[in-house]
Symmetry: C2
Subunit: 434 residues, 2 copies
């Protein structure tokens, strides 16, 4: 087999066989296929796509390219979630303890911030003392003990995905449905959970800008995932404006804590409950959606989820005084307000712009390996539908050490579109794929 022949086959719109795809991924991970051939292949995939059978083979080969997470010695039903990435998306920090409180095992492997989207690991680590570089043994022991874990993705799980993602990032081949499917699912297939809910974000702050694109991705993820021996469900949720009112690390932890205490922004609570409901239905333990939702609401409002979160923070070395009193979380040296240029209603609020601004303030990374500032970020004082007055506050910029406040301020100001009339209220959950 020669890689150039596989490139030409894909270029010409033909279908690759399972052995061809497996050979390609194995040889690539072994360093025997050079990046310059793989990137030409990826661009051909961008234009030609993949059949469902090709996606299944591609995902399986990536999942088998390294170690598998083995939770077999942990009793109980293991569940997991994955978001395709958004701004203010703190769902994981709420959903993991919520599902733990419901009696499920959640050993969540997460990533760090890259581009305009945040990363759960950076957020969780903004709690002083929290450790996320857990060994497989530590993950298993903690899952056995308290049912919930949030650890950093290790490179030995689905290493093909790491290599391919880095290559895609610099070769214009990120926004390709089959490549996204392979990337998202390979880590889940190699992961330890049996039931997985996917949150496909849709809107200007997400990869998928239109509902059609997002629904197509959600359907492909669920179809391909279910063929690989695990059970998947997906929601398409709105990412036109940020979720909640915070974009940053400690800022988002603060907000997650609010939701875990039965308060907090309605949209963040809503998306969390919707995803949790999907998991309960996948598990088949509730008779219908309403019952599943009610159970989760009780766990949130009754304090069980909050209790599980405190256990989680403590288990990973975090200072629980900082979560019991979020005022003790890292705070910015300076806070600057962005004011409304006119009175009216917020008609749009660009999630992407807010995400980029939070990054410029220090919450994100410009290059890999850079430290993030736990205190930096954007706090939104108005969201879509809110009435604002000329000169009144729209947002607060929490300045980090290497902040570029002028650029961030301009971006945040431009992110708000203010008009005379209130906009129609948009839906949060746009589609459901089971």
């Amino acid at each position: 087999m020669r890689m150039v022949d596989l490139i030409e086959k894909k270029r010409d719109g033909l279908v690759l066989t399972e052995p061809e795809i497996r050979w390609m991924i194995e040889r690539y991970v072994a360093g025997e296929i050079p990046d310059y051939q793989m990137s030409a292949f990826l661009m051909a995939v961008y234009f030609r796509g993949m059949t469902e059978e090709e996606m299944v083979a591609f995902t399986a080969a990536m999942a088998e390219s390294g170690a598998r997470v083995d939770l077999s010695e942990v009793p109980g039903v293991k569940v997991d979630k994955h978001s395709t990435g958004g701004v203010g998306d703190t769902v994981t920090l709420v959903l993991v303890p919520l599902m733990g409180a419901a009696g499920y095992v959640v050993a969540k492997l997460s990533g760090r911030a890259l581009g305009h989207t945040g990363g759960t690991i950076d957020k969780f680590e903004s709690i002083p003392g929290v450790r996320t570089d857990l060994s497989p043994r530590e993950i298993i022991d903690q899952a056995k003990r308290i049912g919930v874990v949030i650890a950093e993705h290790t490179q030995d799980v689905a290493p093909a995905d790491k290599l391919l993602y880095e290559l895609r990032d610099v070769t214009g081949t990120v926004p390709s449905l089959p490549l996204i499917v392979g990337s998202v699912l390979s880590k889940k297939i190699a992961g330890g959970a049996d039931l997985i809910v996917l949150d496909v974000k849709c809107g200007d702050g997400a990869f998928m800008h239109t509902l059609d694109e997002a629904r197509e991705l959600a359907e492909a993820l669920v179809r391909v995932g279910n063929k690989l021996g695990k059970r998947f469900s997906a929601l398409v949720t709105a990412m036109d404006q940020p979720l909640g009112r915070m974009a940053g690390n400690a800022l988002e932890v603060k907000q997650a804590i609010e939701v875990l205490r039965g308060r907090g922004p309605e949209d963040l609570r809503e998306v969390t409950l919707a995803l949790g409901t999907e998991l309960l239905l996948l598990a088949g333990e509730e008779r219908d959606e309403a019952a599943a939702r009610e159970r989760l609401e009780r766990l949130l409002d009754g304090g069980a989820a909050w209790g599980k979160f405190v256990e989680l923070v403590a288990a990973q070395g975090g200072d629980i005084r900082c979560v019991e009193d979020p005022g003790k979380l890292p705070r910015a040296r300076e806070v600057v307000e962005v004011r409304a240029p006119r009175s009216g209603y917020v008609r749009r609020l660009s999630a992407r712009a807010i995400g980029v601004a939070a990054g410029l303030l220090g919450a994100g990374r410009e290059v890999k390996g850079q430290d993030v500032d736990p205190a930096a970020g954007v706090e939104l004082l108005a969201k879509v539908g809110d009435a604002v007055e000329e000169g009144g506050p729209l947002a607060r910029l929490h300045l980090g050490g290497r902040a570029r406040p002028e650029e961030a301020r301009r971006l945040v100001a431009e992110a708000f579109e203010i008009g005379d009339d209130p906009p129609e209220r948009g839906k949060l959950v746009l589609a459901r794929v089971r």
Copy 2:
């Protein structure tokens, strides 16, 4: 400027600016843009194409990526030709001395065999003693002295083309019109000639399989070339069956000598005269095609072209006894006949299969840098339209040192399609683009 942005621009069907294209080629030749980004770009070009303005900028940037051939101190009108590559295509060995005999300067830079097509340098070097690795000084001096030179392409002319061609070869991005245009023209623009005729081959032995594709390529080459300050003309010529009756190195030299002595295969003579006529018309020195052609026929049939060829061989160190008596050229250790499986007429004769077979016999290369066998190749005893008898000879295989005669014999036998009726006579010159 970032390469990933240019890749995405092309991927999305947008038009790159001249400074963007220039930046990309300069940085690539400087080794600052990695192959894995360039190959993704090339694949995006495969799918999206280039506008004429992009092709002009791309070709110019490649032409300016290295040294230019400077023939300014050589008096006279400098002409050149280029073929997109075929089987049995010995035209250069006839056309160079013919144009020299007509009083033009031809300092032809050529390449070696690769794939199923031969290379002029390998053919010319099959004449014992011939040297083709001439320095710029030697090329100029010889052009001044006798008007004609055949030298090997040096890597310092259009180095971008060499780098890109090697990358395209292993990434499935060879058959792309704008990339072929840039490759062909950049070397001509950086070359020393003012008037250039292009021979775009069409058929199963060429890159372009259909007349529409070949005509489109010829038109792009002439339009883009003329915008870059030189005068181009192009013919589309048939490459369904090999040109002439030989595919090999010394074998093709022998055949070129026949044509130079006023004999030889009609089709090889015809294509040579047609290309030469185009050059005379480009030069504007003949009132019409008929007059131009007549002049070239006189030079061929009267021995002037032959005399110039002997001068050329002698000037480059060749043993002229071998061209005066081609029986002294390298000869195969063994010759094997391929016989007709039935009586009838040759309806088709695959140029590609004959080219591959000649390579297997030792006339070509399987990997770069390999030596070719000067004596090896295929001699055709029947061509399309010829009547053959069952058991009668179709071809002779001239076996080289590392020949794989069984594979070659099968290929040659299968290359012939024999039917009951003679086929319609096809045209040799399929289109003319000025």
